[in-house]
Each structure stands twice: as structure tokens, then as C-alpha cells.
Symmetry: C2
């Protein structure tokens, strides 16, 4: 587990370097830029961009070419956290152990910082072709996939369902799963898929990348729900049990803690099976990453 | 003036037809879809898509190919109105004579409807190549230009400056102009520019389209400010004088009503001069449209 954490951190640093400089010097209003960087540079595992890079490597691509695209997905992930934390949404004062964006700045600035990050993301996506030489057709396909995953059928729709289900009784497991597949699964799986697409993968490889992303996406969400129950506040960066307190529907609440852990393990196994056709170091990293997800119960 | 209104309405209908069907049948949560369509299909002049089509036609392009891109810009314009109306921003209860999105639905849904429209816009942009056969390279360049225009250096940045300047005394004319160039000018001018880019225009044609857009963008904003003072509520679709009441910095407030009108006329003349190289019906339409802007004082 120490090895994968170190590998993950090392790859995250590649992304971190790109993110640290990608907005600098841009002609943005100062306070808006500060708010965007406040959340974008707040650390985190950089899971989505790391997945883009890893699947791209597995299928023969180069980091250099896909880094802007990978960073764009992190911008989208970050914007979603900012908007989810807003008073009208989850009303969270803390994120990663620091004041959430609207607490550190103000609500209007937080909304705009989110809007800005989402919009700039699409500029970064284009740079994979316009600055880094990938074929335009390939990049355009990946951009559309990202838009679909992040949009109203995907992540935005998932957050809408989450709001709708929160506090409602009688939410079923299929409803919960559909909500999570959109809210967190879509962006994680499109990270894997886009990594494959940008490497010029075959349809079969692209599908395996997508399915791998879906499987670890579900495992990731279950573990997140479990951590909300069992972790301590310092590790979590937010109050423990805050999901339950808000009437959020979670896996432990619906199927119990033990069954949640079992389910997470099952999805990780599914992800590992999808890596079978790929020998080599990169697939081994993806396998270790998948296993690490369920081992995250600190 | 009647002729241009009719022409404008006729062209807007092309866009309207596309917009009316573009979200239908998509796998979006119901309430979210309803909120997105509530604002997207609330009418309006469809100025931005009409400008894409017109400049594209002037430079030899086909409507059919650029319609998804044009519609995408309208999605971005619509999302910006939804977010601008939010309580944390301009706190407007009315938009186009109807309850604003967060009043008709709720704040969380309005934020997500905006996020959804912004994200789907980029999917539509890609469709210009992936569904309508335009060269991917060309579309990708237009997508990046749109992202820059709509992002933190452009429209989102303009709204951030607007919030910052509202209620502040001593805002200068250059500051006001920079704010408007971002907030409304950037999207209007990128509509013209993208129309040219998607037609495969030369650099000189592209620049003229951009400058035309900039000029009418300024004229448009000045007239909007003037209308807030002189129009009646029914025509405006929102309370008269609401800008002043909110401490918004406007052209009439900074340079007076007469000078504002003179300035608007000057920018329209500048726009007309840029059309000189283009004979034919389409450039005549753009000229009539530019003139119509200053004649809009009902």
C-alpha cells in the first residue's frame, strides 16, 4: 500500500505541475483567479488525470500530449466540488480540511470560479490537439465524451438526482447506483476512456478502459460512503457522519456496512479482470490503484 | 426597421427549431431537463447564433453545418442569464417577463441547469464536425475560441468584475468598457468570429468578423443600459431602472443619456465600415442588424 501511494503521488505531481502554471498569467480578474486557484491547487489525489495518463500509457500514448486534457478533467472535477458545496446545494463549510470556496471567498465568486473552471477545461481539452499535436478528430471525440460525462446526463444530472433523493425515504439501490454512476462514475470512467481514445485505441480497448473506469467508480463511491461512517474528521477533511446528518442516501444506510465493503471488493475484482489483456508496468499500476481504493479504509 | 425585425425573426426560427429538439429525449433527470428547457426555450432574439450563421454565410459556409455550433453559443448565453439572476448575483426575480429560473424552480436546480447548459454547449460544438462534417481542426479552433470568450478572461470574468464594481463609486469609463467587453462583448464577437472560422475564412476575414462583433457588442451594451432608463417594464421584461437601483455602473450614469446614444451610433458606424469588402445579401443583413441595434430604443 505504501508503494502505490508513492506511485500515485508521483504521477499526481506531473498533473500538479501543469495545474500550478496553467492559469498563471492569464488575463482573469484577480479575485476570480484567486478563487479558481484556491480550489484547483488544494491538493487531492488527482485521480481523474492520473487515470487519463495511465490508460493512455497502457495503450501507447505519451504523457506530454495528453496532459492538458487530463488537467481539464481535474478542472471539471474541481468546479463540481465548488458548486456542490454551495449553500443552495450541500451547504458544506469545509472541503479538504479548509474553508470551502464560498466560505473563503463569497457565494457569487464561488459560482463564477466554478463556471470559470468548467469553461477553461474545454480550452485545455482543445490544447491536446492545438498545442500538443494529437489528431484533431481524436481530440474532438474525447471532448464530446467528456461533455456528455460531465453534463446533464452525467455528473450534473447525478448531482440533481442527489439533491432530489436527499431526505427522501424509500430510495432504492438501483436509484442510488444510477445516481452515483452519473455523479461520480461518469467522470472517472470518461477519464479512462479518454485516455484510451487519445492514444488512438481500438474499440475493444476503449470499451475495456470505460468498463474499468465504471467498476472502480462504483468501488470508489462505496468506499467514500463507508469512510463517512468510519473515518475520523482529520483524515476525511470534513465532519464524520455528515452524509447521514444531511439525510444523504448511502450504501451503508441502504445495505449495511459489511455488505458495502463486500460490494466494493466485488467491483474491484471486476476492474482487475479487465486488465488481463495488458501486461507491463502500467497495467500493474492500474491494478494496484484499483486495489488501493478498497484498502483506503484507514 | 420592420423588415430587419422580420428577417431576424425568420433566422431566429432556424435556431429555435434546433434548440427545441436538441435536448428532447436525452437521458437527463426530468426536473433538470425542464429547468434547462424553461430558460433555453424562453424566446429571445437568438442574436449570437444568428451572427454565427450570418458571418458563416458571408464567407461561404452552410447553415446546416454550423447550426449545432450556433445553438451551443445560445446554450452558453442562456446559462449565463440563469446564473446572473441567482440571489447571490444580481438577484433578479424576472427574466423576459417570466419568473427567473431559480424562482420557477429552485436555486440548486437553477445552478445545475446553468452548469448543464454550459456543458452540453461543448457537446454541440463538437457535433459541427462529428455530425455535420466540418473539418475537425477548424471546429477545434472555434471551440477553443468559444471557451476563451466564455471563460474567466471573457464572460465569466466580466460578470465577476460587474459584481465587484456594483455599488462601488469611482468606476471609470475604461473599467466599465473592459467589464462589458468581457461580460457581453466576448460572446457576441466570438459568435461572428466562429462563424468565419467555421467557414474556413482567411485571417483577414476572421479579424473583420471579430472586430464587427466587438463593435456591435459595445453598441448593444450601451443601448441596453439606455433602455434600462427609458423603456417601459412590459417592453423590457424586467423592472425599469433596476440597474440604477442595484448600484450598477451604466453608460447613462457615467456619461449621460445623450452621450451614450451618440457613442452607440459611433460603434454602429464602425461595424458598418467593416462590412465594406462584402457585397451581397448577407452583408446587407448584417448591416441592417447593426443599425437595428441603435434603433431599438422603443
Amino acid at each position: 500500500m505504501a508503494a502505490i501511494k508513492e506511485q500515485l503521488a508521483q504521477r499526481a505531481r506531473l498533473v500538479e505541475d501543469f495545474l500550478a502554471s496553467c492559469l498563471r498569467g492569464r488575463d482573469f480578474p484577480k479575485r476570480l483567479l484567486a478563487a479558481m486557484e484556491y480550489s484547483l491547487l488544494a491538493g487531492g489525489k488527482r485521480l481523474r488525470p492520473v487515470l487519463v495518463l495511465a490508460w493512455n500509457r497502457v495503450l501507447g500514448g505519451r504523457d506530454e500530449a495528453v496532459l492538458p486534457f487530463a488537467a481539464g478533467l481535474e478542472c471539471i472535477h474541481t468546479y463540481s466540488l465548488i458548486h456542490d458545496d454551495l449553500p443552495a446545494m450541500d451547504d458544506d463549510d469545509l472541503r479538504r480540511g479548509r474553508p470551502s470556496n464560498h466560505k473563503a471567498f463569497d457565494e457569487a465568486t464561488a459560482i463564477l470560479a466554478g463556471d470559470g473552471l468548467l469553461t477553461e477545461a474545454f480550452g485545455f481539452f482543445c490544447d491536446a490537439a492545438l498545442e500538443r499535436g494529437l489528431p484533431a478528430e481524436r481530440v474532438l471525440r474525447a471532448v464530446r465524451l467528456a461533455a456528455q460525462a460531465a453534463g446533464a446526463a452525467g455528473m450534473v444530472g447525478g448531482q440533481a438526482l442527489d439533491m432530489e433523493y436527499t431526505g427522501r425515504t424509500g430510495v432504492t439501490l438501483p436509484e442510488l447506483q444510477d445516481m452515483h454512476a452519473r455523479k461520480t462514475g461518469a467522470l472517472i470512467s470518461v477519464a479512462c476512456r479518454a485516455g484510451a481514445v487519445l492514444a488512438g485505441a481500438s474499440a475493444a480497448d476503449e470499451e475495456r478502459a470505460l468498463d474499468f473506469g465504471r467498476a472502480i467508480g462504483v468501488a470508489f463511491q462505496i468506499v467514500d460512503d463507508v469512510l463517512d461512517v468510519v473515518a475520523d474528521e482529520k483524515t476525511l477533511g470534513k465532519p464524520v457522519g455528515s452524509d447521514i446528518e444531511k439525510g444523504k442516501n448511502t450504501y451503508p444506510a441502504l445495505v449495511g456496512l459489511a455488505e458495502s465493503k463486500r460490494l466494493a471488493g466485488e467491483y474491484v475484482e471486476r476492474a482487475l479482470a479487465l486488465l488481463a489483456p495488458y501486461p507491463g508496468e502500467e497495467a500493474a499500476f492500474l491494478a494496484a490503484l484499483a486495489r488501493y481504493i478498497v484498502e483506503r479504509v484507514h
